[in-house]
């Protein structure tokens, strides 16, 4: 296995290398029309952790997640899920896409959408059964949306849409969850619900990768952090890598004073 760059700091689970690494990304490069979007990414994600992926707009955060899921073509690289190629481990990886990626006027109910998480286990042709619906309802309860099960998805607020997507991933009962901006423009109740679910998943030994943009909450939410700007600027335990220097390297001149202040606050003193 390729040696990881020492600059990335101390690696959480050196002993878990090999088949036990939930998700490892090797030499991953993705290009759109020959322009690289992410370049030579090498990452081993630790087990039972909440991992944040941060970086400026266009840094390739969503692309990294989509490449892990085979949703965008890779120029090079491989994705291993528990030591085996992703294509053979699809059921173990759950996906929470950005809310805007679907048409919320589509004629389905909240329960219909959440039950989609169980389709993979059902396989082709087998119709949605009682067990699927029970799993979906249970997932809705975990995000505090059980009362909305029979609602039409067009009647949901943004936060409720987000929780519906989260419940759908929970219904899949995966080992690894890849989430694209689950905190983007949601209400406080949803934000709390999402954090609670993330912590519960960690307790159960699951790994969550979360694309995130609010630097003020990074230290609070994430055990582990990937700072991305086309390349991996830094990756490791949040306490080690979430530094002003790494932030500046990641965001360049685009880091706002506010975000710097947030980083400073986290370290317990004015900048």
């Amino acid at each position: 296995m390729k040696q990881l760059e020492p600059q990335s700091g101390r690696w959480a689970n050196d002993a878990t290398h090999g088949a036990e690494v939930p998700l490892s990304v090797h030499d991953l490069t993705v290009a759109y029309e020959r322009k690289p979007v992410i370049w030579d990414i090498d990452l081993d994600f630790p087990a039972d952790a909440i991992v944040g992926i941060i970086g400026p707009n266009g840094a390739g955060k969503s692309t990294l997640i989509k490449a892990c899921l085979d949703l965008v073509p890779r120029a090079s690289g491989e994705i291993l899920v528990y030591g085996r190629p992703y294509a053979r481990q699809r059921q173990r990886v759950g996906y929470v896409p950005q809310r805007e990626s679907v048409d919320w006027d589509f004629p389905v109910s909240v329960l219909d959408v959440v039950a989609m998480g169980t389709y993979g286990r059902l396989g082709w042709l087998r119709p949605v059964n009682r067990r699927s619906r029970a799993l979906a309802l249970e997932a809705l309860e975990r995000v505090g949306m059980a009362d909305f099960a029979s609602r039409q998805i067009s009647q949901l607020s943004g936060g409720q849409q987000q929780r519906t997507f989260l419940a759908r991933a929970l219904a899949q009962d995966a080992d690894i969850y890849l989430m694209d901006e689950p905190f983007a423009a949601v209400d406080a109740a949803t934000e709390r619900a999402v954090v609670e679910v993330l912590r519960e998943l960690r307790k159960r030994g699951r790994t969550c990768l979360v694309v995130h943009h609010d630097l003020a909450t990074v230290a609070e939410y994430f055990d582990w952090l990937v700072m991305l700007n086309m390349r991996v600027v830094a990756a490791g335990p949040t306490a080690d890598v979430f530094t002003n220097e790494n932030l500046r390297k990641t965001y360049g001149g685009r880091l706002t004073l506010l975000s710097e202040a947030a980083a400073a606050l986290r370290r317990g003193g004015p900048a």
Binding site: D70, L71, R90, V102, D103, P107, V108, G120, L125, P127
Partner: protein
């Protein structure tokens, strides 16, 4: 007005054509790719023409296969131009289907003096003539009966679409709503997409004789769009779309043979009135939907505004 046996056949044939279109058309409308139906219905023309030139007969399996292949090619070609050629989807669709359509027209014009296929019939259909071309069938209860060939073909396609939608309901719903999730769950969004496009192509070919390549677009889109305004459930939407399609066939034919007579004219094209009636249905549903919305907003307490 006099109603003959062939009027019944015309209505049944038209209803099956419209119903088959409504089933697959609903998914086109939901995926916001209604114009794909337009593209495929035009692009299958050279497939028809070539099959015609080879076999010299209508409704052979060669014709279906040829048309389905070209229909699929249109979907693939559009996707390819869109991805590799950096074109927007509308433009790439426009390029692919007009090219195929033009090729089809050229082939048909060349073939016209050799075989019985005329461009006008392809464009507008000839529903009124379908009862003339019959097949003798031995039926269990009726004994020997002459059944219009177009009716049998459309019955087969309607049943095919019905079975496909029923069997792949879960997969179609998933892929139409969230193709990315479908891919991560191991349901090839592409496979479902091209399967649907093949059904659209087959349905279009079967409907050519009945409603022609232009009005078939109305049958693909309008009943589905109308049903969309009336319900928020996918299964209800499909049922409503088919019922609206059936109703349009019945009302359309009835209107075609009665309304012009009131004004002292001979009867008019059934396919035309069918399409027009679907348009009226849509208007009615749109009016109803906007009325319902207005009533809902009015009943909201002012305090929450």
């Amino acid at each position: 007005m006099e109603w003959y046996a062939f009027d019944t056949w015309i209505v049944l044939t038209g209803a099956l054509s419209a119903g088959a279109c409504a089933l697959v058309g609903s998914f086109l409308v939901l995926r916001r790719m209604s114009m794909m139906g337009d593209a495929i219905s035009h692009a299958v023309l050279p497939g028809l023409a070539v099959a015609f030139l080879i076999t010299g007969a209508r409704s052979s399996w060669v014709m279906f296969a040829g048309a389905a292949a070209i229909g699929l090619l249109t979907a693939v070609g559009t996707e390819w131009l869109h991805r590799k050629g950096r074109m927007d989807e509308g433009a790439s669709m426009g390029i692919v289907f007009t090219t195929f359509f033009a090729l089809g027209l050229v082939l048909i014009a060349r073939a016209a003096d050799r075989v019985d296929l005329d461009p006008e019939c392809v464009l507008y259909g000839a529903l009124e003539l379908t009862p003339l071309d019959t097949v003798a069938l031995a039926l269990p209860f009726f004994g020997e009966a002459d059944v219009p060939r177009a009716f049998l073909v459309l019955l087969a396609v309607f049943v095919l679409n019905l079975v496909a939608v029923a069997v792949f309901f879960k997969e179609l719903r998933l892929v139409c709503f969230d193709p990315a999730l479908a891919a991560t769950l191991g349901f090839g969004a592409k496979r479902v997409h091209y399967g649907l496009m093949t059904l659209v192509a087959v349905t279009t070919v079967a409907s050519f004789e009945a409603v022609g390549s232009i009005l078939v677009i109305a049958m693909l889109i309008v009943p589905a769009a109308t049903a969309r305004l009336l319900t928020d459930r996918l299964s209800t939407l499909l049922l409503l779309a088919v019922l609206l399609a059936f109703a349009a066939a019945a009302v359309g034919h009835f209107a075609a043979i009665t309304v012009p007579v009131w004004f002292g004219f001979a009867d008019t094209s059934t396919a035309g009135t069918m399409a027009f009636v679907t348009g009226l249905f849509f208007l009615g549903a749109a009016g109803y939907a906007s009325l319902r919305r207005r009533l809902q907003t009015r009943s909201t307490p002012i305090a929450t505004l």
